[in-house]
Symmetry: C2
């Protein structure tokens, strides 16, 4: 058990009724672990004053540093300030500093303040308000007489994150300055199952103190190497070399990278232009590539050519070919990629056509049948896959496989 324990309490009926995922725990955990701190536990309770009080009392007797999120809004189901006042035995009063912060926020934006917003200034008597740069609800800080520090932040993820960085993390660093950051290397693998990867890891040769862990982020397997202490970096360097020697071919991204981010960078660096023709993925591949800045440097255009008329008109796929082979066929994929490249004169044209389901499958071409084709100056390649899963899994698997084609092709080009 570390000497200084940190916990997060997230409040909200929606967290326990399954309506939304708890992204705040993840955000806080991520920042903490980057700097070598560790969450001892995360706890979620409903928006009930009684339950929040009980959770606070339990946590205050177990840890020294508590982050609480949610329930500071302006509406009737926001009960955290009241619960905090009860748990710490303080009356709830209008906090003048908090009221001023709220007024400022509205004044700066020329927004009109609603009467409900004033309610957000009702805080436990000894609370220190914390400025919210992105929203109307101020947070607040409290100290229990046993020394436990409590920080109350809004549940809206962007506001929570900004306030955590600005008002909470600096206090933590002051209270617990000498942490030894845990270092970690993450490898995102595509194309091998977890047990297969596990078998290939040279466990016997890994330096002492290096931990191995797995996680899934469909369709990727995440392999993590972790170490702490002053030799962490050199141990991890050694472990990384051993792992990459066995598994490097399957590593599609590392650490904070994404497959789509890496492909974007590779294409930009190689100076290659790209055009896409998507059918069963419906624009997913294009949306992935354009979710990051700089896509305009390499992506000339992308067509979601659902109807046969679109394939004929935008990709020059002959009507006869569609009639003879169907839109989900090796011939059609090939014609889509090469027709697109003739039209666009991009270095690369990639086409995907398939059956994402749930309907549309046949005995010969079941749901999950997907053809990928890549046209370049060195010719047109096409391959048939049979993916399993639901519609969204088949779409994600297809888009990731297409990224993998682009990654391998560009790496080969750059080696030449």
């Amino acid at each position: 058990m570390p000497p200084f324990d940190i916990a997060i309490l997230t409040t909200g009926d929606e967290l326990l009724s399954g309506e939304i995922s708890d992204s705040n725990t993840r955000t806080v955990a991520e920042i903490l672990s980057t700097y070598g701190y560790r969450l001892r536990c995360s706890l979620s309770v409903p928006d009930q004053e009684k339950e929040i009080v009980a959770a606070l009392q339990y946590l205050m007797s177990h840890v020294q540093f508590i982050i609480v999120t949610g329930g500071l809004g302006s509406t009737g189901d926001d009960r955290t300030a009241r619960a905090a006042a009860r748990a710490l035995g303080q009356p709830l009063v209008v906090n003048d500093v908090a009221l001023e912060l709220i007024r400022e926020w509205f004044a700066q934006r020329n927004f009109s303040m609603e009467p409900n917003n004033e309610r957000q200034a009702l805080l436990p008597q000894l609370a220190q308000p914390l400025k919210n740069p992105l929203g109307t609800a101020p947070g607040f800080r409290l100290q229990h007489r046993n020394g436990c520090e409590l920080f109350f932040l809004p549940g809206v993820p962007a506001e929570m994150q900004a306030m955590f960085k600005q008002s909470v993390f600096p206090v933590l660093q002051q209270k617990m300055p000498n942490v030894s950051p845990r270092q970690q290397r993450t490898f995102k693998l595509f194309g091998l199952s977890e047990p297969k990867i596990d078998q290939l890891i040279p466990y016997q040769q890994l330096p002492a103190g290096v931990d191995v862990a797995f996680a899934l982020d469909f369709p990727l397997v995440l392999l993590k190497l972790k170490a702490t202490g002053k030799d962490a970096a050199s141990s991890l360097d050694q472990a990384e070399a051993l792992v990459l020697n066995k598994l490097g071919d399957y590593v599609i991204a590392k650490n904070g990278e994404t497959p789509e981010g890496n492909v974007s960078k590779l294409l930009s660096n190689a100076g290659l232009t790209l055009s896409l023709a998507e059918s069963c993925t419906g624009g997913l591949l294009s949306a992935m590539l354009t979710s990051q800045p700089g896509a305009s440097a390499f992506l000339e255009r992308a067509g979601v050519t659902y109807a046969d008329s679109a394939k004929q008109d935008w990709l020059n796929v002959p009507a006869l070919l569609l009639q003879q082979h169907g839109a989900v066929s090796e011939n059609c994929a090939r014609a889509m990629a090469s027709g697109l490249r003739q039209n666009t004169r991009t270095d690369l044209s990639l086409a995907i056509t398939g059956i994402a389901g749930p309907g549309g499958g046949t005995a010969e071409k079941p749901v999950g049948t997907v053809f990928i084709s890549l046209a370049s100056a060195s010719g047109v390649h096409v391959k048939r896959y049979t993916f399993s899963g639901d519609r969204n899994q088949i779409q994600r698997m297809s888009a990731t496989m297409a990224l993998e084609w682009l990654r391998r092709f560009t790496l080969q080009q750059m080696e030449k």
Copy 2:
């Protein structure tokens, strides 16, 4: 406090280090609350035997029904079975039934069994194995001598979910048969802020026993009405009518619906065909519409026309117009939509062009400037927006606004 308390314990370093979000808690919570059960708390601890043992002991003394997920894999960081054995004071032994389940799984798929997979049959002595229809790791059930029921499931979301439905939920229904399901109505609003919505709710007129709650699912505000007991349905009907009377215009989806799902249904029902030209949203709108089955019934094609050449070639946007007004302009949006409609002859053609950032903004057209245009038999409409947020928020806001245009247009058409 309900008489029968249920908790979920999720295990995994990755949950507390921020590497992934805890989707299993959400899944379990969602199923439970649909049937009127309620999670009393959710707890997450790292992959450490000691921490899992402590969490189990804490939960066993507080609740009667515990679902544990994670740590049943075949790799070295899977320690849940060992922790369960310690927490319940039972030795860890090879369970023959579990071993048989694992062998069957491999045999049925003609996969070869890795030695690591045998480790998954090491269970606490009195464990009853639970079949895993989707993976190699069997789950198991244990009873504490105080009557507490514990169910251990794998952490892989699809496996966890299948096993929860098959092996856990039926036991819960048997143990606690007479629950009164909590009923809920969710309204997903677009275009009004939470305090504005709150002000419009006729709280004084709502029937007693109806609770109101809010949540954010950017860019939507979720408004929920909840009630329990035998009058729940009629109270909620009454409350729904009152709320829709004030806010109906802003409700873009209800309950399990999504804005994109509703627009798909509306277009299909109205028999209208659609084509899209996306620039700054990069295919996001198309990917949203095609993430559900049946998109081919109305979506003829979608073009992600990033480069000027693509706008000229696929959308007939004149080169001179691009030169004079730029690609992010009212004129260009109008030309994209009308050019696309001339080419495709679809009933509707919608175009989006803008600056999603972080780069590319100017004083005159800052990041967040987005033009949306819709062409139909009744003419071409275009509007300029200035959205705020990061790249992904601007893309999501733009795509949702475009869906809202399609929803309103189609509803008006159907009224005619």
